[in-house]
Amino acid sequence: MTWRKNQKLIVDPIACQAHGLCAELLPEMISLDDWGYPIVAPGVVPPQLSAHARRAVAACPTLALHLVPVSDGAHTPPINSGQKRIR
């Protein structure tokens, strides 16, 4: 298994349909707001949670949850900037 350090979770707010599987699978980092949409804990995913985070990403029915490298800017997908604005 490749060791990837410094990843963070982001939600694509357009794709998310509040299914809530992510919060079931990763309650350590994801809680749901009153409408069922995820609130993701900011910052790097701790190594002991990275497997759970990957599982939550894979379980999202609408592919709205992403693990992205915490960046120096270059590798961050454009989706990230949208996410920052929403928050």
């Binding site: 794709a15 299914h19 809530g20 599987l21 079931e24 699978l25 379980a59 029915p61 609408t62 592919l63």
Partner: protein, 241 residues
């Protein structure tokens, strides 16, 4: 090898049994998939469990389909080639009904492959392709009833009825929950389609495979018909199975 070691009658029974198992698993998969998209959950059955079951039951259905096909091809009784299992309507053994099985197989493989590659394909495309599940299931049932050597056996019919009831109930639930004005037309159309398919399949089954003499009308090669060599006949020699 293994195939040679196994008596051909056992292969033939394995074909039929694994086909029925695949139907039951496909039914479970459809019901779980519908529950998932309809956001069904319970304290003892959270969403991720429904999702995981849907995935794993579907993969298990593929395994049983693999056994179903492999044994049907390996079995020397019915002249079924590997090509017949994926290319519809070209075989010599009950071509139409076997062809429907090939169609269902192709659809199921497409469903599984696109789901495994969901990230590459993208959500919208995947979702559109996944609608094929609603075609795959009835085509599989049609194949089962049409090819099935067991369509006139009581407990097999009970399985068909139970599976159909399960799918229809879940579909009915799906079409009546989370009602919004925007999708009335779509849902009415879906309900009409489901009703039409149900009535059509039932009427056809009553006219066709549920009546005597279907084996001949289904397009079984004549040299395989009749007498104790027929796989449909219940006269079996006690065997190792």
């Amino acid at each position: 090898m293994i195939v040679a070691a196994v008596n051909s009658k056992e292969l033939w029974y394995l074909t039929r049994g694994s086909g029925l198992m695949a139907l039951v698993l496909l039914t479970a998969s459809v019901v779980l998939g519908v529950s998932q998209i309809g956001r069904l959950s319970a304290p003892s059955m959270p969403r991720f469990v429904v999702a995981g079951l849907h995935r794993n039951v579907s993969l298990l259905a593929v395994v049983f389909l693999g056994i179903h096909i492999a044994t049907a091809v390996a079995d020397p009784f019915a002249p079924i080639s590997a090509v017949d299992s994926v290319v519809p309507f070209v075989g010599s053994y009950r071509p139409v009904w076997l062809g429907l099985g090939a169609v269902a197989t192709d659809l199921l493989l497409a469903l599984v492959l696109t789901s495994l590659l969901r990230y590459r394909i993208g959500y919208r495309t995947w979702r559109a392709l996944h609608w094929a599940a609603y075609a795959c299931w009835p085509v599989a049932v049609w194949h089962g009833l049409g090819t099935g050597s067991d369509s006139r056996v009581g407990w097999v019919q009970a399985i068909y009825v139970a599976c159909s009831a399960a799918v229809l109930v879940s579909l009915g639930w799906r079409l009546t929950t989370r009602w919004s004005a925007s999708d009335v037309a779509q849902r009415t159309l879906a309900a009409l389609g489901a009703a039409l398919v149900t009535v059509g399949l039932t009427a056809w089954a009553l006219q066709g495979p549920l009546r005597p003499g279907w084996a001949k009308r289904a397009g079984t090669p004549t040299n395989l018909l009749g007498g104790s060599t027929s796989p449909a006949s219940t006269t079996t020699t006690p065997s190792r199975g």
